[in-house]
Amino acid sequence: MNALVVSAIEKSFGPVDVLRGVDLEVHGSEVHAVLGENGAGKSTLMRIVLGLEHADRGTMTVGGKPYAPRNPADARRAGVVMVPQERTLCPHLDVIENIVLGIEPSGPLGVLREKDAVAVATRALALVAGEGRIPIRARAGAMSVADQQLVEIARALAQGGESARVLVLDEPTASLGKSDADRLFERVRALKESGLAVVLVTHFLGDVRDHADRYTVLRDGKVQGSGDPKTAPPEQIVHEMLGRELESVRGEADAAKGGAGYRGEAPGGGAETLLELRTVAGVAKPRAASLTLKRGEILGIAGLVGSGRTELLRAILGLDRVKSGEVVVTAPRGMGLLSEDRGGEGLMLGRSIAENIALSPRGPLFVNPSHTRADGARWISELSVRSSGPDQRVGDLSGGNQQKVQIARLLREDFDVLLVDEPTRGIDVASKAQVLDLLRELAGKGKGIILVSSQLDELVSTCDRIAVLRRGELSASRPATEWDEEKLLLEAAS
């Protein structure tokens, strides 16, 4: 029985064709992964399924009945619910209030029935988190990201009510550590077995292989392949995602690696020290972090979610208060941070590419806009940002291209030390390789880089040395050649 059938959906935004005739069939009791690079059209497709956008052409059915939602409320009535990638709880409301948001049980004159609300919310929470794991009266804004995610799924299910047929999870594990992700998929399996159709939009091929029953690959607004992820070789899926680009990307990546010539050639004791931390502790995290960063090297920092990785970088830069210990900066041109939160603090989404790149505390008193534009255009071609030009709003770019703009800003400042937080989060495979090669290249040119990443393979392949952050305490670093992914994970999780 097909829970959701999407036929020949087309959608364009202005001159850009985002979806060019997409077909998708999702059965009940299955986890169906939708894969694709950034800009492949996954998000738009999901927004159409949820009634947040309207298709230009094409039809959909849910449970065999024609389905054309005008808004999320319509979708919900038909039993289609989504947990979007970014967190969408109301931070001031508590767990129960969030779960019943929009479906508050109420009597005459809209007076709330608190007991019913608690019952609805507890039932939904039990499906995703088990009894008592989440305090129902905690304010959403004060909860961990992992718990917020569970509350969002509970909310989606509660809002679908008895008729919930299709649950869309958009990048559910992007901000979760491995154990939280595993716990999440455990719940997803239980939901699936209860008859729900789960659409899983993700970048993580590992998640797809381990947890999906079928997959569909989108590229350039079209379906490029589908099948069983357990039998389809990963190379084939990657090929479907990237198309012909793959070979050339690999070639470029290899060439860049060869050019930088990095592994095993870490700078010796003679290189200039740029940054030193002596048992630095923040207000809550980190608790004890010591490190030394020299010119020309990449120091990787591994750690689970909640280990204090981002907090460490913020403390180094002085964005968060350092409670004890010392941060000694000897880098003559200072430090810059590439934030993991692109939309929140990394970029001005409403401003143009050129303005974002030019944003700087230094610089002349008067600015010539045409210089800013020309500079922007130069960086756009330098980092091959896919855009309509330096005047385009950054918010209109795909995630990978936004990341390039953020990097361009740091490069323009010419900092000696780059603190790089999750540079490849939510960006496609090709862009990932480019970003990492760029970091290698910059280290080769004499920058010192601290790279925080939850992608362990990235750390092993990119860094000179790696240190592990565990519950706020940073271990001594060791050469990357002594690490592999398993060792890192073991160290971080023990």
């Binding site: 969408t88 931070p91 409301l93 209030e97 004159l109 905690a138 304010r139 207000v283």
Partner: protein
Amino acid sequence: MSALASLRTMRRPAWLGPFVALLVVYTIFAIITPEHSFLRSQIFLTMARQSVVLAICALGMTLVIVTGGIDLSTGSLVALTTVVVAKMLKGGSSPVVAVATAVAVATAVGAFVGVCVGRFRLMPFVVTLGTMAVLRGSAIGLASEQKIDCDPRGLDHLLEASLSAPGIWIALALAALVAIVLGYTRFGRHVFAVGSNEAAARLCGIDAGRVKILVYAISSLLAGIAGVMEFSTLTVGDPTDSVGLELDVIAAVVIGGAPLAGGEGSVLGSVFGALLIIVIRTGAVHMGMPSWVQYIVTGVIIFVAVAVDSARRRRTRS
């Protein structure tokens, strides 16, 4: 932070701060006034009567600020209402018809603002800045650039100098009503949700635009009622009345614990905020202090309120 401590900060009601501030300021005045005359019931009554207009406006402003909006047109709307009431009474309408018409006009203005903000997604600051000017101009034009004298036909008794003045009780009843709406109804929950995270509210099927239209309409309806109260004390229609009232109203709501970013706020807090402003004003007059002192004291209290609130927030977060 321990679970118990987090529970404590969570449960601490938002109105506690302004309530304590009110007690402290009142006590100070009670001590420093000669013969402790600030404790006399006559003064108490005067303050209650003077609070009515500010407090009723603050009720509506609380809703607006909880959604993350702002309304700068309150003062002009109050003035326009006094003019409409006076003009109708002068034209021979019964008090009931005059009041109903004036309040209906106010509500319609609010609905218009709400449509601009909620449907056309215009910035509330700009929309109500424009509305403020248009309403002030309309009031002056309607009144032919002068005060309108008329027989108040009983409306002056609304805020007469007695504990049985209906205005005081109407204000209390409205406060209770708005508190119930905000705290115990679907609509109230949606007001908080829209202010806390509008995208999330939309995602959950809440028509955020509709919530805002209702909020601005209700807020202006309340400003209309406040205007009737203002007429009751003025007994004339005065188009130049209540200039800058909206700033006092916003101050009351902010002192009452509602951040302008939205998502939080309480009726009780706002009422205490309004009372605090009136206590300072009355106390200063009573002591014979020059008016600049009360401005400065009110300003300092706003700073303190915001500082205390922000310190509390930072503590809760870490």
